[in-house]
């Protein structure tokens, strides 16, 4: 089997106002079956996708935010969130959902999937990919 490619899914859009965030997550879930080296980037308005306490009851649209917590089961465990994007929007890391995965290489220890990175670290992550998909 050829070596896995590095796939980065770039999320720069807020949820619900448009369908991009949801349909991007659908690609991530399906793509997980292909056993590539997958990372997700959340920057600009994309950081709003990961906030706690989303409740869509009154808008009649499916709340897909819990799905992020299931990503670990699909072995998608690298979610990079840009610090500057959070700060510009008045958010702190504690405003985001807790997203964990069980590390099979480390006695199934629970570890956080979300990594807060600086803008320049985000630029490094983007520059280290084979395929960059943005929706």
């Amino acid at each position: 089997m050829p070596e896995a490619k590095k796939f980065l899914y770039v999320n720069r859009k807020a949820p619900y106002g448009t369908i991009y965030a949801l349909e991007s997550l659908e690609v991530v879930l399906i793509g997980a079956a292909f056993e590539q080296d997958v990372s997700l980037a959340f920057l600009d308005d994309g950081v709003f996708q990961l906030t706690r306490d989303q409740n869509t009851d009154e808008i009649g649209v499916k709340n897909f935010s819990p799905t992020f917590r299931a990503l670990g089961d699909y072995e998608v465990t690298k979610l990079f969130v840009e610090k500057e994007s959070l700060e510009e929007r008045g958010l702190a890391p504690s405003d985001l959902q807790e997203i964990m995965y069980e590390d099979e290489d480390d006695d199934w220890e629970e570890k956080p999937s979300i990594h807060i990175v600086s803008r320049s670290e985000m630029a490094d992550i983007m520059a280290d990919q084979d395929v960059v998909l943005s929706f």
Partner: protein, 130 residues
Amino acid sequence: MKFGIVVSEGPYTHQAADTAYHFAKAALDKGHEVPRVFFYHDGVNVATNLSIPPQDERHIQKNWTELAKANDIDMVVCIAAAQRRGILDENEAKRQGKDASNLAEGFRISGLGQLIEMGIECDRTVTFGD
């Protein structure tokens, strides 16, 4: 070189499907390959055969169908995105009990796996959207 192309906005409202078309044509003219174009989000609307633009305007669906035919491009329409937006091939229309289908010639409906596969197999993946 092999170029995979993603089109993720619908025709006429947004320029993405036009830009992607001109890009694909230029790539083929330069001797590159475009093995697959993947239509996602509102981009699936490019694949309807019910579009009737005024005669003095470009026909986006027909342009794609002809380009694909001449160059053996696999044009894939995402099934989940297509079903949300009412783009159906004959089989799917039957299966869902609909009395009509509207998938234009040269397009086929398939899953998101085809997008990932395109990313794996092509040297470059270029996305056109909003």
